[in-house]
Amino acid sequence: MLDQKQHVNLPQGSIEKATTTLNLGPTHPATHGVFQNILEIDGERIVSAESTVGYIHRAFEKIAERRPYYQITPLTDRLNYCSSPINNMGWHLTVEKLLGIEIPKRVDYMRVIIMELARIADHLICNSVMGVDTGALTGFVYLMTYRELIYEIYEEICGSRLTTNIGRVGGFERNFTPAVWTKLDRFLEEYPKALKEFETLLTRNRIFIERTQGVGGIDAKRAMSYGFTGPNLRAAGVDYDVRVATPYCSYQDFDFTVPVGTTGDCYDRYLVRNAEMWESLSIIRQALVKLKDLPDDVYHANVPEFYLPLKEDVYTKMEALIYHFKIVMGETDIVPGEIYSAVEGANGELGFYLISDGGRSPYRLHFRRPCFIYYQAYAELVEGAMISDAIICMSSLNLIAGELDA
């Protein structure tokens, strides 16, 4: 005879309990990443939720304390991997600000183009995945073609697609090839049509509106208290954008609007992201016009201590050889200092808090990761909602597991 107790080991109080415990994640196909939420559900309604994070924590802050500065760039790739170029640029800008490097305008504009492409890539994934979660796969297929085109542009510039490691402290590793400009032109011509089509599919779609409107809403005051930034805060009606508040990388030269929502629900977040994609396209066009007036052979600042020299110079010139050796061996000392520098990441304010003690690697580097901070509101946003609403709410917040867990 089997002892029944041995095989059925229920936690205490589970028989009397009126609600059901459901593990949503950590590896659920609908969560788009490693997220675990322990939901208490009553039927299909969520009574309470508890988020568990840290499944893909990789200790980047600790690793960064042992690496020369240029080797930290690949770590930042792996934060928000849907828009790695923004993270890379954010890190370069932090170091440049610490060192007081003056960046040529052309480099700034090239960076702006890359960052806005990354923002479009990030937003289009987020919005089209919202469509997928509400049952409309078509829009996703329309837009994914253009993410592919953006990735091809990255590939032309730096050789990789997802984790880009794009640019260097001081600029880019090489000038943009003609293929970059051709592909960019193609993107600017074709993407607006696809985006328009995508908007026609979803924005006034009755099913989509009913699934998203009034779901996961948050008011401005609470969103601020929860540390929301980026599109999610703007959807709640606060027009805070780092690009406007503390312009970096010559964003002050561009003319664009900051779209805001009112209710902060999933539908508003969707609208804000769509509007931002149009603004990004306009910024890229403006940058292309501005670039026409600038000499086309400048692609980095004059910082030999931080910028790898050309290979033919390394073999023929002594200074170039010395700098090459110093940079590759990580022997460049960085000035002591303490700095907080932020960029407008695709999902919020991405900040770098850097303390240098004059050594070759940071004394302390902290990433302010936007989705780590606003994910704590998730439990509150989905309380009282249905399970299917919880899924949409998660995709509309644009949570990226890599950034969340650092």
Binding site: G54, K62, L98, M224, A245, Y353, R364
Partner: protein, 171 residues
């Protein structure tokens, strides 16, 4: 009308006197230190005051300085005033033996996870925190990995001379 760093410093010293010290402006951001038991009072004042209005908590983190005796751990708050678009940095130092600092969760909902993260990596004990437990590391961990006494690489490695790679061998 824009809020200047001088004005913030003046308001803080008027209100708190010796409690707030060490004013400096690295790269334009006003940075100062508050006494350990008054971090919450200072933040409350910065939050409520009609002129200062620092109502957005950008970030909480900590730094470990093993050579500073009795104030080995620094808790660092970045606050932001959205109206005047000013950022400030508030530091609180705590001894590593008993790193007790008051929690900011009553002021900012976002402080909850940020403080959990800081506890997780540095062992700062945020007094009054509703749910102070590890967040990114496993619950069974018994140490605080971001402290400087934990070297990143195996110190017994002999194939690599640390003098040649980054910082000297002692960190």
């Amino acid at each position: 009308m824009s809020l200047t760093n001088e004005r913030i410093q003046q308001r803080l010293t008027e209100k708190f006197g010796d409690v707030v010290t060490g004013f400096e402006e690295p790269y334009g951001m006003l940075t100062f230190t508050a006494q350990r038991d008054s971090n919450l009072k200072v933040m409350q004042f910065l939050f409520d005051d009609e002129e200062l209005r620092f109502q957005f908590l950008t970030d909480i983190t900590a730094v470990h300085y093993p050579e500073r005796k009795e104030e080995e751990l620094a808790v660092i708050y970045h606050l932001h005033n959205f109206v005047d678009n000013v950022r400030i940095r508030l530091k609180v130092f705590a001894p590593v033996a008993a790193p007790k600092v008051y929690t900011a969760t009553s002021l900012f909902l976002s402080a909850n996870w940020m403080e959990r993260e800081t506890y997780d990596f540095f062992g700062i004990d945020f007094v009054g925190h509703p749910n102070l437990k590890r967040i990114l590391n496993v619950d069974e961990m018994t140490y605080f990995p971001m402290r400087k006494e934990f070297p990143l690489e195996d110190s017994m490695r002999v194939d690599k001379d640390d003098e040649m790679f980054g910082r000297g061998g002692n960190i």
